[in-house]
């Protein structure tokens, strides 16, 4: 056992040394620390605190604002669920932009976690004939309905299964998160996701300093870097504080519902028990916790 440990640390030292040497040219200590940072899930509390403090400093330097980065863990007895009323959604895309602002999504190149699909009522839910670029004067348009799609927070997430480095995982409250410092950017998860919910930073992400949301969670809306994957986290920085996600609060028609699936008195449970509910691509057995329902 001891022998194994020493060999392990030896290997570690060797690799750390070689990688440090590799990364050294023109780098400062912070960058090296960041480079050598471990997977979030194996960090000690102290390491987390240190990393978060240094992140807050880094962001302050960059954006000239005070930042609060949380690493709040999941609450006990909570499993988040989401329901979207297809009979209400009018396709106004307010959620798309509220999400983008709340979660510091890159404006240029544009990244949006919510995609709103316009579908023909005659065809029903039919992705092949859907359109995300609709742009009429007024919505809803006659003969169409709208299906906003974001991360479905699967109970059986295919994206987590395929990640070669365990950089993405499902938290105890059911939210699938990404460690942006651990993701290698192989995009296997994007190939595996049946909902197009994962987005890649093809270029350097860019959020104007005056628009940046300073209330952050480590696994959520903190600024991402080039070459990593990001996704909806049910606004983890809000939902773990008891607040509704930004898309729920902005929706002008109240089509978006959110709550604790384990609480029998929650609105989400009421919907599951009293409404006709569907999940997208049920046949894939991803078991989404994002339900679509018909409120009427």
């Amino acid at each position: 056992m001891k022998k194994d440990n020493s060999r392990r640390s030896f290997l570690k030292n060797i690799s750390l040394a070689s990688f440090s040497a590799l990364a050294l040219a023109g780098c400062n200590m912070k960058e090296i620390d960041e480079f050598l940072q471990k997977n979030f899930r194996v960090l000690s509390e102290k390491e987390k605190t240190d990393i978060i403090r240094s992140l807050e400093e880094k962001y302050k330097e960059k954006y000239d604002k005070e930042f609060h980065v949380s690493a709040k863990p999941a609450m006990e007895g909570v499993l988040f669920g989401y329901a979207l009323d297809l009979s209400k959604c009018i396709g106004c895309r307010k959620c798309v932009y509220a999400c983008s602002e709340e979660n510091n999504q890159s404006r240029e190149p544009q990244i949006q976690w919510i995609q709103v699909l316009q579908m023909e009522k005659e065809k029903g839910i039919d992705f092949a004939h859907s359109n995300i670029h609709y742009n009429p004067e007024k919505v809803p348009e006659e003969g169409y309905f709208y299906v906003p799609v974001q991360c479905q927070q699967c109970e059986n997430p295919p994206c987590v299964k395929v990640c070669p480095v365990k950089a993405t995982w499902k938290e105890p409250d059911g939210i699938t998160v990404v460690d942006y410092n651990w993701c290698i950017g192989c995009r296997y998860c994007m190939a595996a996701c049946p909902y197009g919910a994962r987005h890649f930073n093809w270029g350097e992400p860019n959020v104007p300093a005056e628009e940046i949301n300073t209330n952050m969670h480590y696994l959520g809306n903190r600024p991402r870097m080039k070459g990593v994957v990001e996704k909806c986290t049910f606004c983890i920085q809000r939902s773990r504080e008891g607040k509704y996600p930004a898309c729920v609060e902005i929706c002008p028609v109240g089509a978006r519902k959110f709550g604790n699936l384990l609480d029998p008195n929650s609105e989400i449970r009421y919907i599951l028990e009293n409404k006709r509910v569907l999940v997208l691509k049920q046949e894939l057995n991803t078991q989404p916790k994002f339900y679509y329902f018909f409120g009427v």
Partner: protein
């Protein structure tokens, strides 16, 4: 059991602090700002009596009695010409069978009235709506129809029916959509 106790205490807390919190001092962030004109309703957990703030009256029109106390009530159904003709024009809420005084009380002009004749404060207008739209009222109370904001595990704020639906023409108004996403071909 434990959960329920926790929930009760949260609701009590919510009840006492509700007024203080929601009298217009919501400035946490942008999303809360859009709710500043929103009315706060508190439930006691069983969704029976719901406290409401001011409904969205048109400016300068309430109290109705300011004008109507000087006018002799005329209960005959007719087309309005001199005043409220704008409402008459857009009125589209079972207009074949109903008119003003089916919901507004003939004598007590600052009240609404139920079919039973019971007078109703404007803050309780949802009960009036619920007379016909019972299913909607039930869904609304549990937060499934309409919108609640605040905390998913604590105090929540309701919008009244009339905040989204003009009671005289309840069909939801069309909106201008936000711009479509940049085409991936154009991301460079």
């Amino acid at each position: 059991m434990k959960n329920q106790n926790k929930k009760l205490s949260v609701l009590f807390l919510a009840f006492f602090t509700a007024m203080a919190i929601f009298s217009g001092c919501l400035n946490d962030n942008k999303i809360d700002q859009i709710n500043t004109e929103m009315q706060s309703i508190q439930s006691d957990g069983k969704y029976t009596e719901i406290a409401v703030e001011q409904p969205p009256f048109s400016i300068g029109i309430f109290p109705c009695s300011d004008c109507h106390s000087l006018i002799e009530p005329n209960p005959a159904r007719r087309e309005l010409v001199e005043m409220h003709d704008d409402i008459d024009e857009i009125f589209h809420h079972d207009s074949e069978n109903r008119w003003c005084l089916d919901c507004h009380d003939t004598n007590s002009r600052d009240s609404l009235k139920l079919a039973s004749g019971k007078l109703l404060d404007f803050k309780e207008s949802y009960k009036l709506c619920g007379q016909c739209h019972g299913n909607k009222l039930r869904d609304w109370k549990v937060g499934v129809h309409g919108k609640r904001t605040g905390n998913w595990n604590g105090e929540k704020e309701y919008l009244l029916c009339v905040h989204c639906h003009d009671p005289h023409a309840p069909k939801f108004k069309e909106l201008m959509p936000e711009p479509p996403p940049v085409r991936q071909e154009d991301i460079h």
